[in-house]
């Protein structure tokens, strides 16, 4: 059910993307600290490492599930 929901959302976003046109000069809000999550990469890396070593699931944050016995 959850997979179908995310798939539907992804498909909707892809289709919607073709209909939406947002000029670069209109995207000032997308570069604000709360929207630019790339700056959190190093912080999230450690957190992902903790989650990978304590949960059966992985993925979605660049982790591959290997290393340090976290498989």
């Amino acid at each position: 059910m959850a997979r179908r929901l995310i798939g539907a959302l992804a498909l909707s976003a892809a289709l919607l993307g073709g209909c939406v046109s947002v000029a670069p000069y209109e995207r000032e809000a997308l570069s604000r600290k709360g929207m630019d999550v790339e700056r959190e990469g190093m912080e999230m890396g450690f957190r992902a490492h903790v989650h990978d070593s304590r949960e059966g699931a992985t993925g979605g944050h660049g982790s591959t599930g290997g290393g340090c016995g976290c498989n």
Binding site: A2, I6, R32, A57, T58, T64, G66, G67, N71
Partner: protein, 400 residues
């Protein structure tokens, strides 16, 4: 974060930690510029940043202290270079028998990552290519990985398609358990005999799309597939079967898949950003998990931001996990004492305070006016044997 058997490493660890701290301080002093560079293509100088981060994780039986330093550089021609170095000092009680014992040991892990990337302008589109290489080393574990990523930006960068591939080779040894280094029987299919020298290989494939939906909203979705083949159990953990301890025995192959979506929006009037994240995960060991997450970013003052985060995780057990195995469990049956193979759930709640250093402008410390300091604290309520935990981080990022 692997659990290991007891060792007498505590004394040398203290001197190692001091050396590591000295190395990180020296590296930071060398990397942080005395004044900001006038970094642009016209001047031909490089731009970038240096990030120092202290990471801490605590739970009932494990403590992790992990200082890290990273730098990202961009050349005037657009070439990007990044490097990161991290040290894990893991202090843990032994769970080799699946039961907490009053024995503590400390283990050090070193991890280094380097990356290279750049963008190619294709006219109506931009192709971003990057590669990375990582080595992680512990006394009894070596992990080597490398990967390539490609991102194709379309529609004035409103749409980005991403593809990635990553390979891993891990080598597992057994140096702490009674010093035997001998592989017990029944440790999984495909394992070698006698000397404990196991390994596994992994391949990870990623595909994703990011789409700007409006001037204040974007959406992305990422699919990830992982294939692991080799020794996938813990080298030290033991499982009680009919009052006899036997080594963990996990299947030698695992197919893992996840689908993650994020919807992010910004409210201009209140200077608030909201991220709704959802991950669905499933694998060939019958584990299925969901992970909804909510993040709220609030600008409190000109240089101060607050982030609130809530995350829920819920999974069902692996097909071979049993709270207690029957006395007649066959010798070669898959058995595990790994709490993360069980059915459980957790909640995480926490905050981050992000402080900008803009108030240093036109002072003696003007060089640090674009730096940021972040303080993080998160608490995890966990229903399995790992128990509750705390993640705390402090980070200093200095652009130049």
């Amino acid at each position: 974060m692997a659990r290991r058997g007891p060792s007498g490493y505590d004394a040398p660890v203290n001197s190692r930690l001091r050396l590591v701290a000295l190395a990180l301080s020296t590296a930071a002093a060398l990397l942080v510029p005395a004044r900001p560079a006038s970094a642009d293509e016209a001047s031909g100088t490089w731009t970038g940043d240096v990030e120092l981060r202290g990471n801490y994780y605590w739970e009932r039986s494990t403590r992790v202290i992990a200082p890290a330093v990273s730098t990202r550089l961009q050349a005037p021609n657009g070439l990007r270079v990044n490097a990161e170095y991290l040290v894990d000092a893991i202090t843990s009680a032994s769970q080799a028998a699946g039961v907490l014992e009053d024995v503590r040991f400390t283990e050090i892990r070193h991890e280094g990552t380097v990356g290279l990337g750049g963008e190619i302008d294709l006219g109506d589109a931009q192709l971003d290519l990057s590669g990375s290489f990582r080595v992680s080393r512990e006394p009894d574990y070596l992990s080597i990985g490398g990967g390539l990523n490609a991102g194709l930006a379309l529609n004035d960068r409103a749409t980005t398609l991403r593809l990635g591939a990553y390979v891993i080779h891990d080598e597992i040894r057994q140096r702490f358990q009674a010093g035997t280094g001998t592989r017990p029987d029944f440790m999984g299919e495909g394992t070698s005999a006698d000397a404990f020298e196991e390994s596994f290989n992994a391949l990870s494939l990623t595909a994703g799309i990011e789409q700007v939906l409006s001037p204040v909203v974007y959406f992305n979705v990422t699919y990830q597939y992982n294939y692991l083949n080799g020794f996938l159990a813990n080298a030290y953990r033991r499982v009680a079967v009919a009052d006899v301890l036997r080594p963990e025995n996990h299947p030698g192959v695992r197919h893992r898949q996840s689908l993650t979506g994020r919807l992010a929006g910004h409210i201009r009037r209140t200077r608030t950003s909201v991220h709704v994240i959802y991950r669905a995960y499933w694998d060939s060991w019958d584990i299925a998990a969901i992970t909804p997450e909510l993040r709220v970013y609030q600008q409190l003052a000109r240089y101060t931001h607050l982030r609130l985060r809530w995350r829920h995780y819920r999974q069902r057990r692996a097909f071979f996990y049993e709270p207690a195995y029957a006395d007649d469990t066959p010798e070669d049956a898959y058995v595990t004492a790994d709490p993360k193979m069980s059915t459980f759930h957790s909640h995480l709640a926490g905050f981050q305070l992000l402080l900008g250093m803009g108030f240093l402008e036109d002072t003696a410390l003007d060089a640090f006016r674009e730096a940021t300091l972040d303080l993080n604290f998160e608490y995890i309520w966990n229903t399995n044997r790992f128990g509750n935990g705390v993640i705390a981080q402090v980070g200093l990022r200095i652009p130049f």
